[in-house]
């Protein structure tokens, strides 16, 4: 168990909370590229209500939701050539929050020079809009490899999940769940549903796991039944990228699972996928964005694929998992290490230090480690992942399968 106080400290993401202050030291995806248009939209990040827009000059802005004039929501507004005009009385603000116009006030008034909307820095990278809500100067936006590769296809799936982000992150340092949630339970559903062939790959038992704090977060290694420490699952592993991402995949197929805290009880989950076969992918005109559904036509949680099983495990832990009632064992050491790392980095911020994975120097790319042959075989993993992950909902799913040219597996 964890004490109620420590659970509170671990999970509260709003301004002023220790975790909230830690998380405000990072850039967060606040939207996909298609959400930033001339029509302002409401977004919520780290417990703060925001308005995202792209003005007529193409500049993306992110302001606090409420207009500083009479507190109407600024998504009730119109974008102009420069800035966003509140729909209520026409006050206009640029992307830095500066008030440019106050219709109705005397022409000679300097009142507008003393009014400021709360504005946050934003940057576009790899089809995502990133925002920084912390103290200035902002660190560099980390140019992680998947966001910047020029010879890869991408797609972006996303869903709002009704639970705290920490329980989702804990899943990423919990390797044993793979063989049970996706192996045994997933195959149980297949048996019940009349599928003869069980899923291979995810059913293999774990022989050994290890976790190592390193410059990008926590590196996770595993030895599976029938494999050795010479296999890439152990020799290379793959990382939890602190504080908010999992990097997972195999040769040519690499994903960031990005867990964005909307507030204490809700998380925007982004599946950011890249497809980069040997020799690179042909140019891609635009990055498709799609919703990952949570429910089937009967209103029941979708559980017949890997990501659906994960989602239901996360959500059913509760809006904020009550860790005072849990019972951790040795197989949970990765989870414990992650909690300790959050505690340590909260303390670093309180001491005035930059936390782990803060970049102050401009850089071209940050390369992350990841297995090429995952669970023993890149092809088998890609066969599974293109069919049994959220990629099943991608509008370019068929093109992705064709891009790699892997044979159709016998279990499909």
């Amino acid at each position: 168990m964890l004490s109620a106080e420590k659970n509170e400290r671990l999970t509260r993401v709003g301004p002023g909370a220790p975790m909230g202050e830690l998380l405000r030291r990072y850039w967060w995806p606040v939207a996909t590229h298609d959400m930033a248009t001339r029509v302002p939209v409401k977004r919520r990040l780290l417990g703060e209500d925001l308005v995202l827009f792209r003005d007529g000059s193409g500049t993306v802005g992110l302001l606090a939701e409420q207009c500083p004039h009479r507190r109407a929501a600024l998504w009730l507004g119109c974008t102009e050539d420069v800035g966003l005009r509140c729909g209520y009385h026409g006050w206009r603000f640029d992307t830095s929050g500066r008030c440019l116009e106050q219709p109705g006030e005397p022409t000679e008034s300097t009142f507008k020079d003393r009014v400021q909307a709360t504005a946050y820095p934003v940057q576009e990278l790899g089809g995502l809009i990133f925002a920084y809500l912390g103290p200035l100067p902002a660190p560099e936006l980390p140019r992680y490899d998947l966001f910047v590769w020029e010879d890869a296809w991408r797609d972006i799936g996303h869903a709002e999940l009704p639970c705290n982000f920490v329980q989702i992150m804990e899943n990423s340092v919990d390797p044993y769940h793979v063989e049970w949630l996706h192996g045994r339970y997933g195959n149980f559903l297949r048996e019940i549903g009349g599928h003869d062939a069980p899923l291979p790959v995810v059913s293999k038992k774990h022989v050994r796991v290890a976790f190592e704090v390193f410059e990008h977060g926590i590196l996770k290694r595993r030895v599976l039944e029938g494999h050795t420490e010479e296999d890439e699952d152990w020799k290379v592993g793959h990382p939890l990228v602190f504080p908010h991402m999992l990097r997972v995949g195999a040769a040519g197929l690499a994903t960031f699972q990005i867990r964005v805290p909307i507030d204490d009880e809700n998380t925007w989950h982004v599946w950011y996928q890249t497809y980069r076969p040997e020799g690179g992918a042909p140019p891609q005109e635009s990055i498709p964005v799609y919703d990952v559904p949570l429910f089937d036509e009967k209103g029941e949680y979708l559980r017949d694929y890997v990501d659906g099983q994960d989602i239901v495990a996360w959500i059913t832990q509760g809006r904020i998992s009550d860790r005072t009632k849990e019972h951790l064992g040795r197989s949970d050491l990765g989870v414990i290490l992650l909690r300790k790392l959050y505690a340590e980095q909260m303390d670093a911020v309180a001491r005035g230090e930059d936390p782990l994975c803060t970049y102050r120097e401009p850089h071209d790319v940050i390369d992350l480690p990841m297995e090429r042959d995952k669970f023993g075989s890149a092809v088998e993993f890609r066969q599974l992942w293109t069919r049994e992950s959220s990629i099943r909902y991608s509008p370019i799913k068929d093109e992705i399968v064709e891009l790699f040219g892997d044979p159709v597996p016998t279990w499909a």
């Binding site: 964890l2 220790p18 064992g329 040795r330 050491l333 414990i336 909690r339 340590e344």
Partner: protein
Amino acid sequence: MGIGFCPGCGTALDETSFVQEFWSGADRHFLCWCASCRLMCTVIIGALVGTEPEH
């Protein structure tokens, strides 16, 4: 029952420190990280296992 003080420096393990209970067979363990002296250790009831820093 929990661990109230750092086994290394004796400072109270307050809210900024980290204490996590887990079980290993019949043994009750507490992983502790002290925000004051930065010691990470595991207290097993009746024993103390130190985590040696990397060197």
